[in-house]
């Protein structure tokens, strides 16, 4: 594990840049993460996705299925890839401060 500075605060990240201290996440952290994910500057759709992921995670302690994300935000997968080149799991989830997806996903 390594520490890095995001949004002006020190946060622990894993080998692939996912933050390990979700409680430290805030908008500034998200913006700094979006720079690493080539998703900067973040527009309305970026935030729509990030906020949806964030809310779902706080409620269910897990990221939502990708199809649920697409359906609920109304943003299709292709656009998600344009917004977050790393894709919904590795890109958007990372910016939203979620842990890296695990299991056969």
């Amino acid at each position: 594990m390594a520490k890095t500075t995001l949004g002006g605060i020190e946060i622990e990240v894993d080998e692939d840049g996912f933050i390990q201290e979700p409680e430290k996440w805030n908008k500034e952290v998200a913006e700094d993460l979006s720079k690493l994910e080539q998703a900067f500057p973040m527009g309305e759709d970026h935030w729509k996705i990030v906020n949806y992921l964030r809310d779902y995670y706080l409620k269910y302690e897990i990221a939502p299925p990708i199809r649920m994300l697409v359906k609920q935000t109304g943003i299709d997968l292709k656009t998600i890839y344009q917004l977050f080149p790393g894709g919904p799991a590795k890109g958007a989830c990372k910016v939203a401060g979620l842990p890296k997806p695990t299991g056969c996903v």
Partner: protein, 531 residues
């Protein structure tokens, strides 16, 4: 290189060069279209053992003191000794013994290894390399043979931290597909050797890839699923699936959950819920249409068929299987059926048969024959012209070579897919997708690159070859892989090489194709935009 070089300190034993890799057919015969593997950062190299092939799968941390280093070696040896004890390793003692002692190194098995061939025959990936290293260590440090007999039997090896750490990584460069075992006329199981090395690391040294242990079996037993899905999230996802089904087929279906006394407890790989809910939806639609008495479970572990223990740890294997069986027993179902997940098939139906005792020994079988009976027995109305695109079938090693479930999926495809093509080789002779034994879920650092560039390369070659006549991206093509793990790997392979854009090849499961052919559906069930 020589075999004993594994213990010599060096920057890296082998380097994977793009030009050494197995050539691919059109359009990847153009080297510019090939993708190069990511290099590790110097910081990662410093912290973790990466001097095998410049790839990190396990992530073995370097010792911080001499004492730590010695403890590491000591633990490895004590674990190795336990592999040969009946009490600690009755589970695999017999095949381990035979495989270690009686291999004559004829190298017949070499051509069956997807990693060895695709890498351009790198010595360390040779199926007999790991067993030879292990045999030498066992002869010298466990059996403690004298100098003369070590010389005679060619057991020259120097045990040190570097060797053990490299061997630990190397055990995760074999997908346990066991095609080499099939090739061996003496019944030597080189795949098993990788499995046993992994066990020493996990069961004695407490070292295993995070994705398999900490976030895998441990998370599954604690939270309910290796995906992190807890029962509340499951409820939400099932609700989502029910709505999705209604939207797709114009009719509401109630997905049965925790139905006591049902005929079937259906165990899905929970990865399907997260990444491919269309597969679990398809099962619900088919079972509903065919009037099957089935249920899902919402108990922790009861909604995730996976059992990563089968890849690296016998005790975790027994724990997960026992929990799953307890849930089925408590529900009072007649049997467990496993959905489209290869390793769960093998682990739950076959391997665990010898840890489930008494009332836990509940009948367990594959869900594929049920699908086959429905399709072949015309229990639901299907129109094959709805699947009129080129389709090929990937055979998951666990179901096919290791269990013999070869025909049900073929009978289905032959009936509902007019353009079904077999790749070569197929059936029990298939090649692994390259994501077996947990690789498809190991997502850290540059390991995903390795399994796309090396272990999965031969599968990509087979897929491209079978579709050569219609390789243009204008023709949509489908790789049917009835296994979550294989699906994840094939998805990553197709992305890595940008195959959708270059060739129009998509992938998915088996049940989706059946629903796609149902005549009372207004729009196609398969949605190609999810590439």
């Amino acid at each position: 290189m020589r075999i004993e070089d594994i213990s010599k300190k060096s920057d890296q034993i082998i380097k994977i060069r793009q030009s050494d890799l197995l050539p691919l057919p059109y359009p990847y015969n153009n080297p510019e279209k090939d993708t190069a593997m990511r290099e590790l950062s110097s910081d990662q190299r410093e912290r973790y053992e990466a001097s095998l092939d410049g790839v990190i799968g396990v992530g073995i941390q370097r010792p911080s003191s001499k004492a730590e280093e010695e403890l590491f070696i000591h633990k490895f040896l004590s674990g190795l000794a336990k592999l040969f004890e009946k009490e600690n390793n009755w589970t695999f003692l017999h095949p381990l013994y035979h495989s270690l002692e009686y291999c004559v190194k004829c190298q017949i098995c070499n051509d069956s290894c997807p990693a060895y061939i695709a890498s351009g025959r790198k010595e360390i990936y040779r199926p007999t390399y790991r067993p030879e290293v292990l045999r030498r260590i066992v002869d010298k440090y466990i059996k403690k043979k004298n100098r003369a007999s070590l010389k005679l039997t060619g057991s020259d090896i120097e045990l040190n931290w570097t060797l053990i750490a490299r061997l630990g990584e190397l055990a995760y460069r074999c997908t346990l597909c066991r095609k080499c075992t099939q090739a061996c006329p003496l019944g030597i199981d080189n795949g098993l050797i990788s499995h046993e090395i992994r066990k020493v690391f996990s069961q004695e040294m407490g070292i295993a890839p995070k994705e398999l242990h900490e976030q895998g079996t441990v998370q599954q037993l604690k939270v309910g699923s290796s995906t992190g899905i807890n029962p509340r999230a499951l409820e939400n996802i099932i609700e989502f699936m029910e709505n999705d089904i209604e939207e797709k087929i114009g009719r509401k279906i109630k997905i049965p959950v925790d139905k006591k006394g049902a005929e079937i407890l259906l165990l899905h790989n929970a990865g399907e819920f997260m990444s491919w809910p269309e597969n679990t939806e398809a099962f619900a639609i088919i079972f509903d249409a065919a009037g099957i008495d089935w249920t899902l479970s919402s108990e922790t572990v009861g909604y995730d068929a996976v059992n990563y223990g089968v890849w690296y740890d016998d005790i975790q294997l027994a724990r997960v299987a026992t929990r799953q069986a307890e849930i089925a027993r408590n529900l009072g179902v007649k049997k467990i059926n496993v959905g489209e997940c290869g390793h769960a098939h093998k682990a739950m139906i076959v391997v665990a048969d010898r840890v489930l005792t008494g009332d836990l020994n509940i009948p367990r079988e594959s869900a594929l024959p049920i699908l086959r009976d429905i399709v072949v027995g015309d229990k639901i109305k299907l129109d094959s012209s709805r699947n009129n695109f080129p389709i090929t079938l990937h055979d998951p090693c666990n179901m096919v070579r290791l269990m013999g479930i070869v025909e049900p999926q073929r009978e289905i495809l032959k009936k509902i897919c007019p353009q079904f093509l077999e790749m070569e080789p197929h059936g029990v002779d298939n090649y692994c997708c390259g994501g077996g034994s947990g690789f498809a879920i190991m997502q850290s650092m540059n390991f995903p690159d390795w399994r796309s560039a090396v272990s999965g390369r031969i599968k990509l070659k087979q897929i491209l070859e079978v579709f050569q006549d219609t390789i243009s991206p204008d023709v949509k093509k489908y790789v049917c892989a009835p296994c979550s793990n294989c699906k994840g790997q094939i998805r990553d392979l197709l992305n890595y090489y940008n195959v959708w854009d270059e060739c129009g090849i998509f992938y998915g499961g088996l049940a989706e194709l059946i629903v796609n052919a149902m005549i009372d559906l207004e729009k196609p069930f398969i949605e190609w935009e999810w590439h």
